[in-house]
């Protein structure tokens, strides 16, 4: 009789002393049956669980196509002050999908950052970079003020005071004939270098851009 605790146990059930074993059997009928039923159950359970999980997790990987929206004529937006426009962030759900952007014409005297030469108009998102509350442009103090936790941004959207971790997001803009169009969102770090859009509360300076990676569908 083979020692059951020996290092190299025989693969034959006859040697292992299992009752009912016959010559040359390696897997007992009971074990085979159990294994088959377990595998079939796993496949059946997987058949309804995995699509459901994919259903739940899928939106993380969905890429929204670029959407350009006409927001006004070229002479509607001054160089030194912001004009609010209503834009649609999520279509087909009515007012809940709309948001506000503050648009101004690019002023070479003010917009001196080297990273962005292509957008003719500066469109600042009203989404506070702290936790997402809508900020308000206050003309008298030339600041964006967030009502929730006291975040304050300057004319360029850079953080001046309060808990925000980076400047306000911006939107790409382009001129099409005599209309100004507003495109996808992008985030900026404190030097106004462009990044793919991030959620509020995620800093982008230094190690921040690696700690808070871009979305899977983001293009550079």
């Amino acid at each position: 009789m083979a020692d059951k605790r020996a290092k190299h146990r025989s693969k034959y059930t006859l040697d292992r002393g299992i009752p009912g074993a016959f010559e040359g059997e390696t897997v007992t009928r009971r074990r085979f049956m159990t294994g088959t039923v377990h595998s079939a159950s796993a496949i059946a359970a997987g058949a309804f669980t995995l699509p459901a999980l994919g259903f739940a997790v899928g939106p993380i990987f969905k890429s929204t196509p670029d959407h350009w929206e006409t927001i006004g004529t070229v002479d509607q937006f001054p160089e030194n002050n912001y004009v609010p426009v209503v834009i649609t962030l999520v279509p087909n759900i009515g007012a809940a999908g709309k948001s506000t952007a503050y648009v101004r014409k690019k002023n070479p005297a003010i917009d001196t950052d080297v990273y962005d030469r292509t957008t003719p108009y500066i469109a600042i998102s009203d989404r506070c970079a702290h936790l997402g509350c809508p900020v308000r442009w206050v003309d008298a103090s030339e600041r964006f003020i967030c009502p929730c936790h006291g975040g304050v941004y300057d004319l360029l959207g850079r953080r001046v005071s309060g808990p925000p971790v980076r400047p306000l997001d911006r939107f790409y803009t382009r001129v099409s004939g005599e209309y100004v169009e507003l495109g996808p969102r992008f985030s900026v770090n404190s030097e106004l270098r462009r990044f793919s859009p991030r959620d509020p509360g995620e800093p982008l300076d230094g190690i921040g851009q690696y700690l808070y990676p871009a979305r899977p569908d983001a293009h550079k």
Binding site: A56, V57, P59, I60, K62, T64, L89, V90, N92, I93, G94, A95, A96, G97, L131, G132, C133, P134, C148, P197, R198, D199, P200, G201, E202, L211, Y212, P213, R215
Partner: protein
Amino acid sequence: MPKLPAPPLPAPLRTPPPRPGEANGDGPLQEAAQAGIAVVDWVDERTSLSGAARWLMFRKVPKGTNWFYTLGSATLFAFLNQAVTGVFLAMYYRPEPSGGAYESIRYITNDVFLGQFVRGMHKWGASVMVILVFLHMARTFFFGAYKYPRELNWVIGVVLLILTMAMGFTGYLLPFDERAYWATTVGVNINGTGPLIGPYLSDFLRGGSEIGATTLSRFYAIHMLLIPGLMAALIGAHLYLVAKLGTTAPPWLKAKQRRELRETEV
């Protein structure tokens, strides 16, 4: 035991004499009672549920059990209140972000009979439940009722606490008014501030990069189906363990020591 004389009650409060035919227990009232008992017996003979009911209800409790021990049952009652009012709210609520959600809540509040009451019970019941859960947890902690052999029960309780918080979070979005929308925005973005997996977590919660239709549907399914099911199962396990293991005495009651076990002074 000698029977004391009946107290001098006024006539309307005295027990009335038996009606004709009821003296031997044959009247219609007694027949109705017999019928009810017969139904219960019929079920009990086929399920032996009376044994389980006796085990659950007539268990021993230690000396010193006080009003603090009712906090757990109070939490259960709050949960049942939420479940029942939630079911009735679900009959009218529509999870549409394009105005249907807000409109259905307005309809419940203004037009449905007792709608404002049921909605109010659900809304305030949520706060009541959170408060009671914390008080119950504090009572269990300060009474040392988490120690052996009740550690698993404590763990189940903590999971129930987290599920209660998740119910509050998902339910808050459902009216889809300004407060709901922005509170959820802030809450989901707080999740995003966690390094490395934060962005994916907040995308998963929202169902995308913006709060939209998927967010509302997702939160509704979680609030109505997923977490209530989990909570019901875990509450069942929690109550079973309480009945099986028994409750502890309050910590200010010391068990009487046997004289032979006391250490003698040298």
